[in-house]
């Protein structure tokens, strides 16, 4: 997800600090650097490039900052995901700056910028990746601009969801990490390998940055921050403040925006500070609240910024729990839509964590998001084909995709719209002029045609994702990530070029529920009751249910069973759609060269955007309407009560994908003191029966409508959209209506 704030800042022509005050001067310098080193070793090129980019993009501290480290990416640069993949050049905003008369650019500068754009045209990592697609992949994925084009599948260009080994970082500190790297000089005897040598250069750059920020902090009167910054330039961190500061600087420099199991690596610092009396609990809470605000303000990214606490596999559980409780308290009291705090829990966990979580959720925070380790750990072990011990480190990043914390990659590099595939299957012109009913005389013939199309598309997406990894790896070793990612150092290889312990990928899947409900309606009306023909349904959908006959047929389609009502007729097809698509991805992964490749049924608003380009469907959904969110029922069509909805979710297998999102909307009254024990029992019974995770929005009936009428009064209302939370009043009207339409459990 490209960082819109950086683009907006550039378009406002906000000058950068010296020496980059002139618009696009930084971009030109970065381009020159790249050109000079175009054919150098990628590690040397990256280190030289970062020597310019890092000090320039790390913007000065602001008054009131408790932690140093703000970032504003240039419009040409290197990033794993936030501005695109690898070396990027954002042509559109650059052209807007060129067209802006207020931009102080002389003819020479304009000419150089024109040359720069021409240079990057085929030189960005994105362009090189697209150019590398073989014909069959290009046929399935002809278009990159998915929000504006209809299609069943699209590529996404990014290396999302990387997390760093912060435990190692905080244990060693910058100097210790450098010393550790020097101990392992790599393959070439005596001489440090280019990877090591250039990583050392970047670590030195970070120490310089820390000293620069220390001077800024002193100038702002932030003596404690200054002392912490001086300290981490020289040695490993020893206090909670120092640890947070080092984590944050390295994270920003690495281009990472998901933070892993924070209680594991900050818990010991908190415990030490509390034990020594260096911090009171209130002071520690203030620090965390400051960090939460700093993340939301300086690194605003509602699709990411995930922090996980709780769960199995933490070395010092009591110490981590102490931090987790403080983190939940920070989330409850800061009341922002970020960071996305997530609680992993299990049966024998300290119950105080879940109690605190429900209190925060009940106040309408949508956080923490709940993840059930008792189900998810065996599910991840099965899906990723790894041991239970290795699965203990699963981490839901971004919108809910599972990776193994700093051990496996799992970026979603593709979108698939299953409902569009069903639409294409039903509407494909038959060469012999056969009608839909002649082409598909039985339900199984229709299913097989649909399923084959899914398999072909998924196989192309898996290959495209592998090409994306290769393109990213060829562009840069991503030195800081590789220094803090499992097995890269031991193997002497960068993260995307053989270093990562497990090379994984994911594929975002949309329209699953509408596809299942469509197939259920077709199976019932056409093949079981024989009360209408497939041709009639296809025509009614093309017609968007406009004619009186189509409208009548639509009512019958809507009356057919729907997923989310604990009705086996509908739920079994939902399970079948899910299992087929998941198996297609799982099987395509190893063929494309992945350790694991899985579907993720998450949601980032693409259900609405892709729905806008999807025709009316046989479940009764009108053309252009949003598709159901993630693995959830279609809005308002789960009518049999909360337990029925929850039971339906239990029929979707968790052990064959890399994360699915369950959004639930509860009335505030269910979190009142009188009802809370029942609500807690409801969730606990569901989790015991196999529920994987829950993203819970708590609202009053009428709140959402009132917020649409008077947005100025409802700025505090946070809702879970799909895989992210947002202030309700800032959502598009379409998405607001979609959320209002979801069933309110009360």
């Amino acid at each position: 997800m490209v960082n819109e704030h950086n683009i907006a800042a550039a378009l406002r022509l906000e000058p950068r600090p010296a020496p980059w005050e002139k618009p696009l001067s930084l971009e030109l310098a970065l381009t020159d650097c790249y050109k000079t080193l175009r054919d150098a070793r990628p590690a040397a090129r990256e280190a030289a490039f970062l020597r310019i980019q890092l000090p320039a993009m790390m913007t000065p501290m602001r008054d009131g900052d408790v932690f140093a480290g703000r970032v504003r990416y240039p419009l040409v640069g290197l990033s794993p995901e936030l501005m695109g993949v690898g070396y990027y050049c954002l042509e559109k905003p650059i052209r807007e700056i060129l067209a802006n008369p207020a931009a102080a650019l002389d003819d020479t500068a304009r000419a150089r910028i024109g040359d720069m754009l021409a240079f990057w045209k085929n030189e960005t990592t994105h362009a090189k990746i697209r150019a590398a697609y073989p014909d069959d992949v290009r046929r399935v994925l002809p278009e990159d601009d998915w929000p504006r084009h209809p299609g069943a599948a699209f590529p996404l260009y990014r290396m999302a969801g990387i997390t760093l080994d912060n435990e190692k970082l905080l244990r060693l500190g910058l100097p210790g990490l450098a010393a550790r790297l020097r101990e392992k000089p790599g393959q070439s005897a005596g001489q440090p390998a280019p990877l090591v040598e250039n990583t050392l250069a970047v670590l030195e750059l970070l120490a310089d940055l820390s000293r620069r920020y220390a001077a800024e902090a002193r100038a702002l009167g932030q003596a404690e921050t200054a002392a912490a910054l001086d300290a981490i330039a020289l040695r490993e961190p020893r206090t909670l403040r120092e640890a947070i500061q080092l984590f944050w600087l390295v994270t920003l420099a690495a281009g990472v925006c998901n933070y892993g199991r924070m209680d594991v690596w900050l818990g010991p610092f908190l415990a030490r500070d509390l034990d020594s009396g260096a911090l009171t609990r209130d002071a520690a809470l203030s620090l965390l609240r400051a960090l939460w605000r700093h993340i939301a303000d300086s690194h605003d990214n509602m699709f990411n910024n995930r922090i996980c606490v709780g769960g199995l596999g933490r070395p010092d559980e009591a110490c981590a729990d102490q931090f987790a409780l403080l983190a939940i308290e920070a989330t409850r009291t800061v009341a922002l839509n970020q960071p996305q705090l997530s609680l992993r829990f299990h049966r024998r966990q300290n119950p105080a964590l879940m109690q605190a979580a429900l209190a925060s959720i009940g106040e309408g925070r949508t956080f923490p998001i709940l993840y059930n380790d008792d189900v998810n750990i065996p599910a991840v072990a099965a899906a990723f084909n790894i041991s239970r011990d290795e699965a203990l480190s699963y981490f839901p990043y971004g919108c809910g995709e599972y990776i193994l914390d700093h051990a496996s990659t799992g970026t979603p590099n593709g979108l698939i719209n299953l409902l569009k595939i069903l639409e294409d299957t039903l509407n494909q012109p038959a060469p012999d002029g056969a009608t839909p009913d002649e082409r598909f005389p039985t339900f199984e013939t229709l299913w097989n045609a649909y399923a084959a199309q899914v398999e072909t598309t998924v196989a192309a997406l898996a290959r495209q994702e592998k090409i994306t990894y290769e393109g990213a790896g060829a562009a840069a070793p991503f030195l800081l990530i590789s220094a803090l990612f499992d097995d890269c150092a031991a193997r002497g290889q960068p993260v995307f070029s053989g270093g990562a312990r497990r090379l994984g990928g994911t594929l975002e899947s949309y329209g699953n529920t509408n596809t299942a409900d469509s197939l259920t309606a077709i199976r019932r009306l056409v093949y079981r009751e024989r009360s209408c023909t497939l041709g009639e349904i296809v025509r009614a959908c093309r017609d968007n249910f406009a004619s009186p006959d189509s409208a009548r047929l639509r009512r019958r389609l809507l009356d057919a069973p729907k997923f989310g009502n604990d009705d086996d007729e509908a739920d079994s097809l939902a399970a079948r759609v899910h299992e087929q698509a998941c198996a297609a991805a799982r099987d395509a992964g190893p063929r494309a060269g992945f350790d694991h490749y899985h579907l993720v049924i998450i949601n980032n608003g693409a259900n609405t955007v892709l729905g806008a380009h999807t025709a009316a469907s046989p479940d009764g959904r009108a053309a252009g309407e949003p598709m159901a969110n993630a693995i959830n029922p279609s809005p308002g069509l789960d009518r049999n009560g909360t337990t029925a909805f929850l039971n339906s979710l239990l029929k979707i297998r968790p052990d064959i994908h890399a994360g699915s999102v369950q959004n639930m909307k509860f009335a505030r009254s269910l979190f009142s003191p009188a009802s809370l024990p029942k609500t807690a029992a409801l969730l606990s019974a569901w989790f015991d029966a196999g529920g994987t995770q829950a993203m819970i929005t708590v609202v009053n009936r009428g709140d959402l409508e009132a917020a649409m009428r008077e947005p100025e009064k409802w700025g505090h209302l946070i809702v879970r959209v799909g895989g992210f939370s947002m202030r309700f009043v800032e959502l598009s009207r379409d998405t607001q209506l979609e959320i209002i339409g979801r069933t309110l459990n009360e």
Partner: protein, 269 residues
């Protein structure tokens, strides 16, 4: 309660008239429950919020409100789907209505089938049915949710009759008989501001607390206007009830009444 002759297996084909099944009910007894709403009610409470339960509703009523026949077997297939939620929350099956005791054989059959599977049961009743009906039902009910609606004043015309259409005497006789027989009963008292929240009624509720110490509890159910829109969907005129939803002060005043009599166990539902 001790089970009566329950050696035979439940009659799953037994059918009755219902109008709704609500899963995950939070307010129909302990824990999370599945509530089956039985059709037909002998009372016409002035504030009725379930008018769809009446036997005769206009044919143009919304389809969701129409009567349907259901068998014990069909209903149990739904009820048992949520047993993990009952187990976790101390919930179970509730029969409500309407007045479920007006279909005693069907209601008893359904309750018995649930109990045979270890699912706890509750019966939400106004008490308006023949004593024989309660005798049939009682062995299969873990908890009665007993509605107590209005209190008459000696010498005055019956307020209970005015507000519900029936005299209170036989209802109270049923209550006393069940209590004497050892039934677990939770008394539930809908309070409708200016309509039935008279001092005599509040005093009578307090009297229940003193006279029947084995009650499972006494709950005040403040009036809510949530059922009014159902009249529109049924094509029925809305009740001409001059009241409003109680504000916090009114509710506090009710509670103070009982607290002043040292009866803190009487709570708001």
């Amino acid at each position: 309660m001790t089970a009566s002759a329950d050696s035979t297996s439940p009659d799953l084909a037994l059918a009755g008239a219902i109008f709704d099944v609500q899963r995950c009910a939070f307010h129909d007894g302990p824990g999370l429950r599945t509530t089956v709403f039985l059709k037909g009610c002998p009372l016409r409470c002035a504030w009725c919020h379930n008018p769809e339960s009446w036997s005769r509703i206009p044919p143009e009523a919304a389809p969701a409100f129409r009567e349907r026949r259901a068998t014990v077997g069909e209903l149990m297939a739904i009820v048992r789907k949520d047993r993990h939620y009952y187990d976790a929350s101390g919930g179970g099956l509730t029969l409500s209505g309407g007045e479920p005791a007006r279909q005693p054989r069907f209601a008893a059959g359904l309750l018995r089938a649930a109990r045979a599977e270890g699912i706890r049961t509750a019966l939400d009743t106004c008490g308006c049915a023949p004593p024989s009906a309660f005798a049939l039902l009682a062995p299969h009910v873990n908890l009665f949710l007993w509605d107590y609606k209005a209190t008459d004043t000696a010498g005055a015309p019956s307020l209970h009759r005015e507000l519900t259409g029936r005299d209170p005497g036989p209802l109270l006789d049923n209550f006393r008989r069940l209590y004497a027989g050892g039934a677990d009963i939770l008394l539930r008292c809908p309070l409708i501001p200016t309509i039935n929240d008279t001092p005599a009624h509040l005093e009578a509720i307090a009297g229940f607390a003193r006279d029947y110490p084995r009650l499972a509890g006494i709950e005040i159910i403040p009036y809510h206007a949530g059922g009014l829109s159902k009249y529109d969907r049924l094509g029925l005129p809305r009740p001409a009830l001059k009241t409003r939803q109680p504000d916090e002060r009114t509710k506090a005043r009710w509670l103070e009444f009982f607290q002043a009599r040292n009866l803190p166990g009487i709570t708001l539902a």
